[in-house]
């Protein structure tokens, strides 16, 4: 059998990876020791050119399916890992054929939940993770994606201005339809609740979870999901005179981070009552706007934070009448970049630039409150670089937490069965 590689970025150097060796036995020198969630398949990270790739050993037909599914999800612009390729026709020579490999790009600055819980945590971390996961699930469901295996392990988290942004990592069981039914959505929620409860109880058993009730947190995903889903999809009725409620609904959705691309408005027969329902909503309200104004591509809450800072810059420099883009550029050069560029090289892989900026703003607020007066951002920055950032762990490619694999795959097993 010959090795066959499908990838959108063909590069013969991919052939140099040890494909004829079972993934489990790949040599240390190609591997990157990054943390992973719980998985059934063998998953390893490899350093390759300037990238870190995640390699999962999996049956060929499932690998193809998952690859295509991840591509569709990227096209739909839902946060998910980027598929890189599929390697088929692997063989270990005498020892016979090997399963195929699905390759995805390692998501930089992403934190598997186990890594998050092994760090010193704010008490409400679990709650914030649920918020992020509920938002991800709502976005997936809006696009017609039934996940089939919603769990913390199958989600990656990135810091997002004090909150988290969730990314889908495992699309193996997913199905894409025009629109999901209520039953399909309920099924996913059901699966989510059981998986999350199990994962949190496991953390508890391992001594990594304190002051949190796994059952309560797991149940909260359902409630959070419904709140969000209803806000995004519910029909609202009001008196025809109360037209402001249309704008009000749009503003609420914007605040939640969604643009309304299509809204249906209808009146009843008498014309005394209006009825509105968002038809097409698009996540990324703040991040899109920030990207337009400044070219910065950051997470939604980070964007919200940055836009707020931009607003106050506009106000304090009295430029409300000026061209938005010109002022935004000025803010970028005079405020944002001086902060993010002040981070010494050696510490650059600890946090994403936008997260550093967010933390410096937080730090300034904290210092100002302690001092009882406004502290300039320059002072806050130097204090932050001296006292806060050096104590942070590396997060670009987090290393050194326990990584768990629990294969239920038949292989020559030394233990008695």
């Amino acid at each position: 059998m010959t090795l066959e590689i499908t990838t959108a970025r063909p590069d013969p150097a991919l052939l140099d990876l040890p494909w004829s060796t079972p993934l489990e036995d790949w040599p240390e020198n190609v591997l990157a020791a990054l943390p992973r969630g719980i998985s059934r398949h063998v998953v390893r990270f490899v350093r390759w050119r300037s990238l870190v790739l995640a390699v999962k050993e999996i049956k060929a037909d499932i690998a193809d399916r998952e690859y295509e599914m991840l591509r569709s999800l990227r096209r739909l612009e839902v946060p998910s890992v980027e598929p890189f390729g599929v390697v088929r026709g692997r063989s270990a020579g005498e020892d016979g054929p090997l399963d195929a490999a699905l390759i995805t790009q390692h998501l930089q600055f992403s934190l598997p939940y186990r890594a998050l819980f092994s760090q010193a945590l704010r008490p409400d971390t679990a709650v914030r993770l649920m918020d992020a996961l509920a938002l991800l699930l709502v976005r997936l469901h809006i696009e017609g994606f039934w996940w089939g295996d919603v769990s913390l392990s199958n989600t990656l988290f990135r810091r997002d201005a004090g909150a988290f942004a969730a990314y889908l990592v495992d699309a193996e069981t997913g199905e894409l339809h025009e629109r999901l039914t209520d039953g399909q959505r309920a099924h996913d929620l059901d699966i989510a609740q059981v998986n999350i409860a199990g994962e949190l109880m496991d953390l508890q058993a391992g001594g990594h979870l304190e002051g949190v009730d796994p059952l309560e947190v797991a149940a909260s995903i359902i409630e959070r999901y419904h709140l969000l889903w209803d806000e995004l999809t519910a029909t609202e009725r009001f008196e025809a005179g109360d037209r402001w409620r249309v704008d009000e609904r749009i503003r609420r959705l914007n605040d939640l981070g969604f643009d309304v691309d299509e809204l249906s408005i209808s009146t009843d027969l008498g014309g005394t009552e209006l009825q509105i329902q968002p038809k097409v909503v698009d996540a990324g309200h703040h991040s899109r706007r920030l990207l337009q104004l400044t070219g910065l591509d950051v997470e939604e809450n980070q964007a919200r934070r940055l836009l707020n800072d931009l607003d106050s810059y506009v106000a304090t420099t009295d430029q409300q009448a000026a061209d938005e883009e010109i002022v935004a550029h000025e803010w970028l050069v005079k405020v944002y970049q001086p902060v993010t560029r002040a981070v010494p090289r050696g510490m650059a892989s600890r946090l994403e630039p936008a997260e550093v900026f967010h933390e410096v703003l937080e730090h300034r607020w904290y210092l100002s409150e302690r001092a009882g007066r406004d502290i300039p951002i320059e002072a806050a920055l130097s204090d932050y670089l001296r006292t806060v950032l050096p104590a942070k762990p590396e997060e670009q490619d987090v290393v050194g937490v326990d990584t768990i694999e629990m294969p239920v795959i038949a292989r020559p097993d030394s233990r008695a069965d």
């Binding site: 629109r179 059952l215 239920v408």
Partner: protein, 388 residues
Amino acid sequence: MAALYNGSSGTFLPVKEGDDAMATVTFDNATRVYPGASKPSVDQLNIEIEDGEFLVLVGPSGCGKSTSLRMLAGLEEVNSGRILIGDRDVTNLSPKDRDVAMVFQNYALYPHMTVADNMGFALKIAGVDKPEIRKRVEEAAKILDLSPFLDRKPKALSGGQRQRVAMGRAIVRSPQVFLMDEPLSNLDAKLRVQTRTQIASLQRRLGVTTVYVTHDQIEAMTMGDRVAVLKDGILQQCDSPRRMYDHPANVFVAGFIGSPAMNLMEAPVTDGGVNLGGHTVPVERDAMKEAGKQVTLGVRPEDLEVAEDGQGLAVTVEVVEELGADAYIYGSTEQKLLAATGENAGEVPFIARVDGRRPPKKGALIHLTPKAGHVHVFNAESGLRIGD
């Protein structure tokens, strides 16, 4: 039993005492049309599943298996028709009130939790108290030969044992009906065969009515008491594996069930039966009354004999697969639509099982005739089986 697990992962409801509740399952013209779809994804499904029966729903991807299962679980609306569990019409009940357990396609084992906790944790979500959980876990462990491992961590187990822990997770729910949607699809070939046998024998021991979904006909045929074949949302046949194999109700089932697949070809009707390569295959006259001029003839690879006299179907051997006692030959034959005109419909692939001690050589031209009474005849237009 004081409480039973209800819903796909829902809560416990007190149900009537005793295990004598009959958990039959009835799909009564059950139909599901997805919003925006032009035709039903499940179309007037009628199946009566007996108490304790292992029923397998099988068919190609997209034929409506998962939809049927979700309708039974209460996770998909039923647009018309009914679903009953025992005598209860559950069509409009919520998942929680149905006393069925959907077994997840994917499950994780948790490394820091004991085997017992790995099996019982979902019961905690359902609010079952600790002593009851322990009791059910111990019972399940006994059935699964996992008793000595209950207080260990899953890491200490072999692959097969881990698989059984996952099964234990379903058993402890003790529902009236188990629903399983392709639970083996991501296992490797070896473990798949092993687990298939385990699930089937476990189900028989537990005696819990089970509806099992797979796209793999071999899995269906080896596991089910009965097998229901679906295509495009329509039930094609529901029978025991034996009956399904020997009496496929139509051309689709004939081609779908069995591996290697049944040979299917068009053949002209003659006086005494059907003409196969100049050789008349006898078919009962009564049965042929409505057949018309032409039928679809099916012969399984193992129901063919090599004819030494040059009679029968001429097949050119392309590949010989030797399996010891038997050999499979993969070849092709010219399909003549009408014997009279010799009109040629082109080459069709043909598979036959022959004596493994003296298989023909690659490239040879051999003649094959069906064993008496082992042909399947189908109406060329409707595809429906003709005769017994």
